[in-house]
Each structure stands twice: as C-alpha cells, then as structure tokens.
C-alpha cells in the first residue's frame, strides 16, 4: 500500500500548523459533533447554498457535503504556494497575449503550432485584438495537490471561469459562526476580502471608451445552471447586477442593460458562460443565452469581457504540459510549482507507455472536467481498463495520462470518527492592475475511503482552508 502524506500527523507527531486542533477534536464527543454537523447543514440549506441539479429527478437543490475539520497551511507553506500561483497566472496570461498576437513561443519552437491553432478553444475571432491591460484570464483557478511536506504539484489550470469560490467564502462564514473559539486560538488569515478584490480587478480592466466609474455585471446562463447560486452570491457581495443575455442589448457601439428606468451602459462583464454562447452572431448561432453583437462591441473597445474570449486555449490538458516552459520563456524564471509528469497519447512513444501501464496510471480526456471520462488505473477492474483501452486506441489525441499521485490526506469527520481522506486545493488568483490572491482557497476532499477523486459530482466534499498568520 502506498504511504500517503498526512498533513496533520507526521511519524506519529502532530505537525505544527495543526497543533491546536488536536485538543479541539478531543473535546468534541460524537453527539456534539453530530449536532454541529446538522447545524452546519441547516445553515447551508437556509442560506441557499446548494448546487442545482436539474433533470435527474429528486430534489433539484443539493448540498455539497461540508466537512468541519479544517485544512491548515502554515504561513511559510502558503508564501511559497502564493509565489508559485502568481507566477503561473502571469505566465498563462503572457502566453495568451502571445498566441493571439505574434506567437513568439510558437516561432521559438517551444510549443507546437498545431496544439495552439488547431485547439478547439482557440478563438480566431479575437486574434490580433489586445484586451485592456493585455489580460485574458482575470480569475485563474489552479488545482494543486500535495504529496509531501514540501512537494506541491499543479494538476490543472482553469483560465476560463473557475467555480467554487462561494464555497471558500461560505465555509469560512459557517466555521466562524459555529466555532468562534477556534478563531481565537488560531490566528487565521481572513478570506472575506475576495469580493472587494474581485471588484477592483474587474474595474481595473474597464475598456478605453469608459470615462467614468465603470459599471460591472455578472453574466449568468440562468437559474438552471448548477452554479447559479455562486453567480448570484458574488453579484450580491460585489453589489453589481446579475444579468442574463436577454437583459442586454447592443446599440451604438455599446452594451446596455434593460432596466426599469431605461437602458444603462455596461462596461465590464464577468461572464460565467462559455465562449460558444456569448454571441450568436460570432459563435454558436443557435445560442439563446448570449447577446447578438457583443463581440463587435468587445473588439471595438466598448466593453470588457472577463475572462476574455479565447482564454481557454491556455488551460486544456495538452497545453498544460508546456506551462513550465511558458514560465521560463516569458518570465525568465524557474517554475516554483511543478507539473505532474504527463504522457500525451498523441505521441507514439507516450501512447505505447500508457497502454502498457494502464493499471497503474490515471488517464484523462484532454477536454474533460468534473472527474468525468477518466480512468483511475489502480482503482479500476480489468474490464473497465479494457473498455478504456479501446477508447484510447480509437482516438489517442483525445487523452493524456499521469502517474497515480499519492495525494496527501487530512483528518476528516467520517461515520466512525476521524479518518484521513485525500484532498486537493483550488486557490483563486485575481489578475488585473495587480495580481492578488486571498490567503485560502477551496479544499476538496474525497469522502469515500481510499478514493482519490475529489469532484463534487463524484462524492467529494469541501473543507474550510486556513492559512495561519505569522
């Protein structure tokens, strides 16, 4: 059996960041724990933090399981992570600006042209256009796993519209409400500046034609979207309108909101919908969610769209392999955060290796997400492996593979008491006039014993994530 790094206990001793939590759990009998757990759930339901799942029957409003045992980082650990995350966010944005411009990195032979220009996420419609401040990805979610005291790896980058930040904020709210003494005993860096930082970031990329305090809005696909709660939560915290495509129209080179007092000009759109749905005149003609003519206004500098259309080309699993190279190429620095070793099935040698080692490795679809369409070799039956082998052989370009990582564990409340469960981390890096990162993020936990898949659609839960002050 693999030896997993336990973030709380190392060789039987409690690691420093968790020192004060040991006593906390000792003072919490099972009944109190159950009571608190029920209280937390009631709070979540009451506030309405659910993710909506339509079309599967049953209650459309589901809760993501919340684990009360916090995940803790020491200040020194966080500082290193923070530097690495910001570095990566800068490199990804530099790459985007480059591939929609002169494409120096392709000319230098560092990234294959086909991976960029034949990428589904590459938007020809914005080639040659430079968005305000040259920023494409304003909210970068970087998924990080840990395998040892000092070993952090980036699992994937999310440059489009990473979700889950509302859980980071609400998990903290609820922990502070239920266990105020924990926050007196531990000096924990606050995360509630996120909404302000997000608003500052969005306002800082207002288009050139905006000559006053910019009007911001969040564009949502609508209330049937599973992340609708998060959209409305963020709009509320920032004090901006939550709009749907039908609320907007284009006229005279600007985007306007339909309000009860007449049209109101909109300057910056934080969109939570995919490129394909933004503008039926430019992308999918059958989309009812977007705004006809939006892209024309965007390209003429009448409105800023965050993240910029086309940002997705930086975050698919095939481009991922080249991110360390981007750091060296654009920033002249060595990458602080490492990639996980990745085999690209598109390459014959890699494909050969992958097919020979399917039982030991993890295979993912290049464009997959949410934990769907992947094979976890060591956790799969012979049959599942053979089915997947056929899929890879049929379309090798569509797959990448990585070694099965020994994901770290943190103590988690389970039915029998407290047990180690595997976790990952998604911090949210904001890129505008400044690059900002609130000290914290979303920790996802695989609640099933032995499971390495932390996605909420696959039985994962969430935890509050602490960064201790010095």
């Amino acid at each position: 059996m693999t030896d997993y790094f336990n973030e709380m206990y190392e060789t039987g001793k409690v690691r420093a960041p968790y020192a004060r939590l040991e006593n906390w759990t000792k003072c919490m009998p099972a009944e109190l724990r159950q009571m608190k757990q029920a209280e937390a759930e009631a709070l979540f339901r009451r506030i309405g933090i659910t993710f909506a799942v339509y079309g599967e029957g049953g209650d459309p409003d589901r809760l993501i399981p919340f684990d009360m045992f916090p995940r803790v980082f020491a200040q020194a650990e966080w500082r290193k992570l923070e530097k690495g995350i910001k570095q990566r966010a800068r490199a990804l944005n530099a790459f985007l600006l480059d591939v929609y411009g002169r494409a120096e990195i392709v000319k230098a032979g560092k990234v294959p042209a086909a991976l960029v220009y034949q990428n589904e996420a590459y938007e020809r419609a914005v080639a040659g256009f430079t968005p305000p401040r040259g920023i494409y990805s304003h909210i970068v979610g970087i998924d990080i796993v840990r395998t040892g005291p000092d070993e952090f790896f980036v699992l994937e980058d999310n440059c489009r519209t990473p979700s889950g930040v509302s859980y980071m904020l609400e998990n903290r709210e609820i922990m502070m409400r239920m266990f105020p003494q924990l926050f007196r005993e531990n000096r924990i860096e606050p995360v509630d500046g996120y909404a302000d930082a997000l608003r500052r970031t969005l306002a800082s990329v207002a288009p050139a034609k905006c000559d006053r305090e910019p009007t911001l809005a969040i564009l949502t696909p609508g209330h049937f979207n599973s992340a609708y709660y998060e959209h409305s939560f963020l709009a509320d915290l920032m004090g901006v309108e939550l709009v749907e495509g039908q609320d907007l129209f284009v006229e005279g080179g600007f985007v306007w909101m339909r309000t009860t007092e007449g049209p109101k000009k909109l300057d910056v759109i934080y969109r939570r919908l995919d490129d394909a749905f933004l503008d039926p005149l430019c992308f999918r003609p059958d989309s009812m969610l977007g705004v006809p003519g939006l892209m024309d206004v965007y390209r003429s500098g009448g409105v800023t769209i965050c993240s910029a259309p086309g940002a997705g080309v930086a975050d698919d699993k095939a481009i991922y392999t080249y991110v360390p190279e981007m750091v060296r190429f654009y920033l002249g620095e060595e990458p602080i955060l490492q990639n996980v070793q990745t085999w690209q099935c598109a390459k014959p040698d890699d494909l050969k290796y992958v097919l020979e080692h399917l039982a030991e490795i993890v295979v993912k679809e290049v464009h997959g997400s949410g934990g769907y369409g992947m094979l976890v070799g060591p956790k799969s039956t012979k049959e599942q492996i053979e089915t997947f082998r056929a899929k890879i052989e049929a379309n090798p370009d569509n797959y990448i593979a990585q070694p099965t990582l020994a994901l770290s564990t943190t103590p988690t409340f389970v039915e029998e008491g407290i047990a180690p469960r595997h976790v990952d981390l998604r911090p949210y890096c904001l890129v505008g006039e400044k690059i900002e990162l609130v000290p914290g993020g979303l920790t996802r936990v695989a609640l099933k014993d032995g499971s390495l898949v932390v996605n909420s659609s696959q039985g994962g839960g969430v935890k509050d994530t602490w960064v201790l002050a010095e």
Binding site: R46, S232, D247, T259, T260, P263
Partner: protein, 317 residues
C-alpha cells in the same frame, strides 16, 4: 433595477396572492357542500367555483365531472393546473431564487419554507389531510411572505413592484369572485333579493374572510347593495376594489417619484381610483353589476399591460 428583476418580483406577489385566492375558493366550495339543499342531498357549487377560478376547462378535460376530491387535487396539488396552489408556490419560489439578491433572507426563507412544506404535504396520503388544513396552511404561508416583506425589505423600487403585484392581482381576483357570485352562481335574475341570493352573498363574504367585518361595518340585513358597497367602494375593506386600486396607484406614484418620471400608467391608475371614489352602489346596479365588473377587470388588465410596457418589458427608454 433590471427589468427582469422587477418582473420576477411583480410575479412573486401575484402568485402568492393567487395561491391565497385559490385556497379561499376551495374553502367556500367545501362549506357549501356541507349545506343540505332544499330537496334532498347537498348543494354543490363546485362547477361555478371552477368557473370562478378560470380552471373549468382544464378540469373538465382532465377529470370530467366535478367530484370534490378531484377538484381539491386539481386546485391544490395539480401541476397541470397553472393556477393551482402548488403551481403558484413553486413559481413564486423559483422567481425568488432568480432574484435572490433582491430579497432579504427572511423573505427568501418564507418562500423557500412554503416550497419545502408543500412538497412534504404532497407526499402525505390525501386521506390524512383535511381540506381546512390545506387552506389554512396556504393563508399562513401567504401571511408569512407578506410579513417578511413588510418587516425586512428595503423600501426601494423592488418593494413597490412587489406591492404593485399584490394589488393588481387582488383587484382582479376580488372582481372575479364578485362577478361569479352574480353571474354564475345565481340561476336567474328572479332570485335577486331572495334567501338563496343572500346565502350566496354570505358565502362570498366568507371567501374573502370578510363576513365578520361586514357585520361590524354595516349591521342589519345583508343586501346586495350593502355588500357591493363593502366589496367595491369601502376603503376600510382590505379586499375592496377601491382599496386594491388605491394600493396599486400608491405604488405607481412611489415609482414615479423614485425614477423622476411619470407616464400613462400613473394617470390611468389615478383615473380608476377617482372613478371608484365618486361612484355609489346604486349607480353600479344601474349600469349592471356584471357589466361594471367586466369593465373593471378589463381596466385592471390594461393597467397591467401599461405597467409591463413601462417597466417590465425592458423596452423602456
């Protein structure tokens, strides 16, 4: 405020008011069904109540003959009936979810709890639920939503759109209830002023939770003129047409002031209030109660359209 937000708020109020009207209608029907008829058996006014709720056609298509149990299901739990209590509550709550940020936690709680509870009720075997339990439950939920709005909501344009929705829906519903009494319930004009006529008026008062109030306000014999005065022209009666139209006009004036501009919708509402204020019950009967109510319902419909065009359509300039 986004036009779509205003529209959702407006409809939250209309759905809640409509759910209450539906449950009141159910209560009236059940009450009448307990009264022995002049020959043998019991009276049944279910047919006319279906007419009143505007659901007679849909019901006939689905169930055929009006049998009480089926009517209860249709008016309360049936999602195929867009005016059923469950349809109204679910849509009010869904609209609330869409405009979550325009509501306070308390208002959302009230809408959400009603939704959770009616889904519980729905799962209970019907034989275990008394009809009065359902109607009282509905009125309680509606009171909770109104109370939460009154106690916690910011007095901004959103508050005005909610109140406008309540007022216009109520004006329409009360007018329809009165009209049904006079036009549908009563078999022939000869019955006017007879015992049957008076009994039906009493039932109508009950449906509007107003029979006690009526006696306090007027005393003596129930006459058509007194009741028409009470339900149409008396500002003290909260469901009277004049009270509902005045409330609508007040909300429209508040919006005009907040937005610094006034339009045909404010003028129309003021004209309607003025007309009712000068009217006397005798004049209504001279015109014909049914004719008057038909005109009134059309006026309210036109006012709603004006509100839609001015604020909710998103076409405002």
């Amino acid at each position: 405020m986004l036009s779509r937000t205003a529209e959702n708020l407006f409809w939250i109020a209309r759905y809640i008011e409509r759910a209450e009207t539906m449950s009141r209608l159910l209560e009236v029907g059940a009450r009448i069904a307990l009264i022995p008829s002049s020959g043998h058996g019991y009276r049944s006014e279910w047919e006319s109540l279906l007419q009143a709720s505007g659901t007679a056609e849909g019901f006939a298509e689905k169930y055929g003959d009006p049998i009480q149990r089926n009517i209860e299901s249709y008016l309360f739990f049936d999602r195929d009936n867009p005016s059923s209590v469950i349809s109204c509550i679910e849509r009010a709550r869904e609209n609330g979810r869409i405009v979550r940020t325009a509501l306070t936690a308390q208002v959302w709680d009230a809408l959400n709890m009603a939704f959770q509870e009616i889904r519980q009720l729905e799962r209970k075997p019907r034989s275990e639920i008394e009809l009065t339990e359902l109607t009282e439950w509905t009125m309680r939920q509606s009171a909770l939503v109104r109370g939460a709005i009154e106690a916690t909501l910011l007095r901004n344009d959103g508050y005005d759109f909610l109140n406008l929705g309540f007022a216009l829906e109520r004006a329409d519903n009360t007018a329809r209830l009165i009209d049904v009494k006079y036009y549908v319930l009563l078999p022939a004009v000869d019955f006017v002023g007879t015992g049957l006529d008076n009994y039906q008026w009493q039932v109508l008062l009950r449906a509007l939770s107003a029979h006690r109030a009526f006696h306090w306000a007027y005393g003596g014999e129930i006459t058509a003129a007194k009741i028409a005065d009470f339900l149409i022209l008396n500002r003290q009666s909260p469901r009277a047409l004049i009270a509902a139209i005045t409330a609508a006009s007040d909300s429209l004036e508040a919006l005009a002031e907040a937005y610094g501009k006034s339009g045909p919708e404010q003028m129309r509402a003021r004209a309607l209030v003025a007309e009712l204020a000068e009217l006397r019950a005798e004049e209504i009967f001279e015109e014909g109660l049914h004719e008057f109510l038909t005109r009134f319902i059309r006026d309210v419909g036109e006012l709603s359209d004006m509100v839609y065009n001015a604020y909710l359509s998103g076409e405002a300039r």
